[in-house]
């Protein structure tokens, strides 16, 4: 599926090194396309390496293969954090890995959205997809704060809002390690001063972030991702709410402490 877009040969060779079950046409069973990935990461390369000059810390904590869930905080008014974490797994892991996100259901109704996201490996956010990807030993990226998390304002940028518990039940059921991560700098890149909820509703979106220059075009702020060592949680995923909630708190605490470490580093403290 050749696309009329520029493709960097170095990116192309990294795509070739992704350990996914491609068919002869360069398409995996979920419809992920090598050509789409190559065009996408070619476009992202400039933003990842230069515009935001993203720094990834603790990459040695991320398993090189096998099922895993990357679980982190939302930072920045839209999916900037997710895109950069995916880029970090692609550009900085050896061999590269494809982090697969879960897309909000409403997006599938718009033309191009489902086509592009599914060719890049980001399936509709339903439990069946998450389980199937993990059963196939893929890497799943999860933001348990959901849209509550992307709606954080500039002054709340390093806070964590309530975590959903679905990811924990999934990890327990699928016997999957969780790699917590902190994403830093999204709040500086997209400093949200307000969220236009009514305007968003009119366009079929949860809200629209408003920045001092109105639209959410990100500034070239320094972005960083801190990965921590994997956490394992025993169980079946059908435990009582309190048990699951306690496990969720452990992950949330780990992410909060990663954020503290990151804040110190950003201030230049040791």
């Amino acid at each position: 599926m050749r696309l009329p877009l520029p493709i960097d040969p170095e990116v192309r060779s990294r795509v070739d090194r992704l350990e996914l079950p491609w068919n002869e046409l360069g398409i995996d069973p979920y419809g992920v396309s090598k050509d789409y990935l190559a065009a996408n990461f070619t476009a992202l390369r400039f933003f990842y390496k230069h515009y935001f000059s993203v720094e990834s810390h603790g990459l040695h904590h991320v398993p090189k293969r096998g099922r895993v869930m990357l679980v982190g905080n939302h930072s920045g008014g839209f999916a900037l954090d997710g895109i950069m974490v995916i880029a970090s797994m692609f550009f900085d892991m050896h061999p590269p890995r494809l982090a697969q996100g879960m897309v909000e259901k409403f997006l599938n109704k718009f033309p191009f959205a489902s086509q592009i996201s599914s060719r890049l490996g980001h399936l509709t956010g339903i439990p069946e997809h998450a389980e199937r990807l993990l059963a196939d030993e893929r890497m799943l990226m999860v933001f348990p704060e959901g849209t509550r998390g992307t709606a954080k304002l500039y002054r709340e940028r390093y806070s964590l809002v309530q975590f959903g518990t679905g990811f924990m039940r999934l990890a327990q059921k699928m016997k999957t390690p969780i790699v917590p991560f902190a994403f830093m700098g999204g709040g500086e890149a997209v400093p949200t001063i307000s969220n236009a909820v009514t305007l968003g509703k009119l366009l079929g979106l949860p809200y629209i972030p408003v920045t001092p220059w109105l639209v959410a075009v990100p500034l070239p702020a320094k972005l960083e991702v801190y990965y921590s060592e994997p956490m394992f949680f025993e169980g079946t995923g059908s435990e009582e709410d309190e048990v699951v909630a306690a496990n969720v708190e452990k992950v949330k605490d780990r992410i909060a402490s990663l954020i503290e470490t990151g804040k110190k580093r950003r201030r230049g403290e040791p």
Binding site: N23, I27, S33, N108, P111, F112, Q115, I126
Partner: protein, 310 residues
């Protein structure tokens, strides 16, 4: 073994008959369509499965197994008639099988049972309900026939029932919904949508039926071979031209400009994917496909080259 095949006169029926004969089975066919030039050794009865004469065939032949191919899709027959064939015919097959001592009934259904929707999962599993009927009510009779066949699992203990939900067929006979959709030089798609399509080569379809006959799996099974492929890739690999049209425009343009005629609900099937998880069939029968997706597309292209356009 004596194998009765209702719906034998189709392209798939002929291939199945040939393979059954090769395996040394006695093949008895029933079809209301004439079966031109049947393979030597096949006993053909040109009659309607719902008629008394069909029951006489069951009584006289006493088949060991029945492979029920006599259901029709939305593109061939008008809805009213199709309802009666699909439901009345399926009922007759199961009732006669119970009365005349058949050991194994294979119902050949379709994976479109699951329907296509924005929030439906990739790779449907057998216990999912049919969610696609609200957008595509024209498929109701096929879904009902599938569920009715499934009910034979508890209604009849005297024989084994295998309900198969087969993915699309693609290959040199040009048989099936997908093959028909690809027939023209230009294939319409919906701008901004490129769903995965699940298909397998007709040789593999026949192979899966033969394996079902041997392994006799009891239950409802999705049947698929190679992985699914995006529609745009199928169009390219079969040498056609992809014509992406904005959704609202497409429903108005269907049937004109060399585009195929489709019911409105069928548009959902080119907007969202229907793909199935066939692992339980493979576990139950140890069947696996022999022809990959690329070879199937090439075989179709060679048999049906892109028609000339002016």
């Amino acid at each position: 073994m004596k194998v009765l095949v209702p719906g034998i006169a189709g392209r798939l029926g002929r291939m199945l008959a040939e393979r059954l004969l090769e395996k040394g089975h006695d093949v008895i066919g029933i079809d209301r369509r004439p079966f031109h030039d049947p393979p030597a050794g096949v006993e053909v009865h040109e009659l309607d499965i719902r008629k008394r004469a069909a029951e006489d065939v069951f009584r006289r032949v006493r088949p060991n197994a029945v492979i029920h191919l006599a259901t029709v899709t939305h593109l061939v027959v008008q809805s009213e008639d199709r309802y009666r064939i699909n439901l009345g015919g399926t009922r007759a097959v199961f009732e006669h099988s119970a009365t005349y001592g058949v050991d194994h009934v294979v119902f050949v259904g379709r994976h479109t049972y699951y329907g296509a929707a924005a929030d439906s999962p990739l790779f449907h599993v057998e216990d999912e309900p049919p969610m696609g009927l609200s957008s595509f009510p024209q498929l109701a009779d096929l879904v009902a026939a599938d569920l009715y066949a499934g009910s034979a699992l508890w209604r009849y203990s005297s024989f084994t029932t295998s309900v198969l939900r087969m993915v699309y067929t693609l290959g040199p006979t040009g048989h099936g919904t997908l093959a028909t959709f690809l027939r023209g030089a230009r294939v319409p798609t919906i701008l901004g949508y490129d769903p995965l399509f699940h298909f397998m080569h007709e040789e593999d379809v026949v192979g899966a039926l033969i394996t079902t006959l041997d392994a006799r799996p009891r239950g409802v099974f999705n049947v698929a071979g190679p992985q699914p492929v995006p529609l745009s890739v199928i169009i390219g690999e079969t040498g056609r031209t992809n014509v992406p049209v904005p959704g609202p425009l497409l429903s108005a343009a269907l049937g004109r400009f060399g585009l195929p005629r489709l019911p409105r609900g069928a548009l959902e099937h080119i907007r969202y994917p229907i793909t199935v998880d066939a692992s339980s069939f493979k576990r139950a029968t140890r069947w696996s496909h022999t022809i990959d997706e690329r070879t199937a597309m090439r075989a179709y292209r060679e048999a049906f080259p892109r028609p000339a356009t002016y």
